[in-house]
């Protein structure tokens, strides 16, 4: 008997710490190109769907990736984040450059991500500065980080500032959650969700919004969020006494550690076929790269967090533009950079940082 693909367990460590070949984005891109060889490229597929040029819409979301440091090492992480990644952390100077750039844009939302952004020493500074500008602030939270002793009182602090929490939870039941995020992750997540509920999150208050983000624990597409949100709400309330406001569903991107799992489990080709065959023209207009700017820990600019992890810098008319030299007009005059992984955002119901797009 051999193990079935679903029980393949890769080391719970970062590609970077293992010096794995896939830690190099060029190696990841090569694997994706090879697995989709002979099929229409994403760009050609867009053209066929009536998008000869793939250009941005109005900029709404200013997404800042503070770095790769995280207290968890999830098997599907597209950032290759982990406890050993303190090598990649945004400086205070770059945070200030982000704020200056933010002031040039019409963005209504500052979306803070990582790693676990709450571990970054400038996290609270950035939240305060963004709120002082009247921006809606999103904290992309892994939940367990709220339970660390160093973060005692953080949930309440975020609540007082009206920060929306977008928390990762693969499933409302234990098995799938632990399979993806590590043994014990579900229990910690539930403890953190109860903590958030206790400070007013997830109870319909627009100033205490708790969103849950689900992504599949395996090589299949995410469900349509509107189809399953009611069931999630009922089950979490009934089984665990937890409430939340909205469910977002996100496909797993075939990059970084999830790509490693796809390769090791023999699922890469069939998963890519599923993404390519699942192309939904109706999901294109709402993908995140059209209304988002993504800034990396070292101040580079990207169309989205996934392109950031693949080192696919945004192609602005002002070549080499960074957050220090940011110019909004130049930013808007660009074509979005796409590769095979982009099929992950247009498959099925569509997938974005804001969940389904179709």
């Amino acid at each position: 008997m051999t193990d079935s693909p679903s029980v393949i367990r890769l080391p719970a460590s970062t590609l970077s710490s293992r010096r794995a070949p896939l830690a190099n984005p060029l190696e990841q891109l090569a694997r994706l190109e090879a697995s989709t060889a002979g099929r229409a490229s994403f760009q050609e597929t867009l053209r066929g769907a009536g998008w000869p040029d793939f250009t941005p819409a109005r900029l709404e979301i200013f997404q800042i990736n503070l770095g790769k440091l995280c207290n968890m090492t999830c098997r599907h992480c597209h950032v290759d984040a982990g406890p050993d990644r303190s090598d990649a952390m945004m400086t205070r100077e770059t945070v200030d450059a982000c704020l200056r750039a933010l002031d040039q844009t019409p963005s209504h939302t500052v979306d803070i991500t990582g790693g676990a952004p709450e571990l970054h020493p400038e996290f609270r500074y950035l939240v305060e500065a963004a709120r002082a500008r009247g921006k809606h602030v999103i904290d992309r939270c892994n939940l367990s980080v709220l339970l660390l002793p160093r973060n005692a009182g953080l949930a309440e602090w975020l609540a007082e500032r009206g920060v929306e929490i977008v928390a990762s939870l693969p499933h409302y039941r234990q098995r799938s959650t632990d399979a993806q995020r590590g043994d014990g992750a579900f229990e910690k997540s539930v403890t953190a969700l109860r903590l958030l509920n206790s400070v007013g999150y997830g109870q319909g208050n627009p100033g205490r919004v708790l969103s849950l983000m689900t992504n599949p624990a395996g090589a299949f597409l995410a469900p349509n969020q509107s189809d399953v949100e009611g069931e999630w709400k009922t089950a979490l309330k009934r089984d665990l006494g937890v409430t939340f406001d909205r469910l977002l569903a996100l496909n797993n991107m075939p990059i970084s550690r999830f790509l490693e799992w796809l390769i090791e489990s023999g699922n890469l080709d069939s998963y890519m076929a599923r993404l390519v065959d699942g192309f939904n023209p109706g999901a294109v207009a709402g993908v995140m790269c059209r209304n988002t700017i993504s800034v990396s820990w070292d101040g580079r600019l990207f169309d989205c967090d996934f392109n950031q992890m693949l080192d696919l810098d945004a192609e602005t008319s002002d070549a080499g533009m960074t957050i220090e030299t940011f110019d909004f007009e130049s930013w808007q005059k660009r074509n979005i950079v796409t590769r095979a992984h982009c099929f992950g955002c247009t498959a099925g119901a569509g997938s974005s940082c804001g969940g389904s797009t179709a």
Partner: protein, 125 residues
């Protein structure tokens, strides 16, 4: 298609090497070739059956998964395992669905035991 050998004789592939091939599921639409109108009607009907109605798409996927085990169709088992997962079900829920199929199948055998019992009582002393 029959293939001509170099010596002019015809080679025919009479049988598959295996009874079940994964490609058959992917190419299922090809069954329409021999009867296009019936194929078209079947696939339209099939799509309509699985669209959300009084039951959700997920409930239908789980029913299909259970029935797939009853009819022991490997194509359907693969297809509706993936479909159930994509509709948000997890392994425990899908396993329970298979147990429903198992219970009905087992129960169907056992309930016929009543016929056995009645007949035995009739002919016995």
């Amino acid at each position: 298609m029959p293939r001509k050998r170099e010596d002019g004789t015809t080679e025919r592939k009479l049988m598959s090497e295996h009874y079940y091939k994964p490609d058959h599921l992917k190419n299922f639409g090809g069954i329409s070739e021999g009867a296009p109108e019936l194929g078209k009607k079947f696939f339209e009907y099939y799509s309509a059956v699985f669209a959300a109605g009084a039951l959700t798409e997920r409930e239908k996927a789980l029913i299909a998964l259970a029935v797939a085990h009853t009819v022991q169709c490997p194509y359907c088992i693969d297809a509706y395992t993936t479909e159930s997962l994509q509709k948000g079900a997890d392994l425990e829920q899908m396993t329970e669905a298979v147990h429903v199929a198992c219970a009905i199948r087992g129960g169907a055998s056992l309930v016929h035991g009543m016929q056995m019992k009645e007949h035995a009582e009739k002919v016995g002393m």
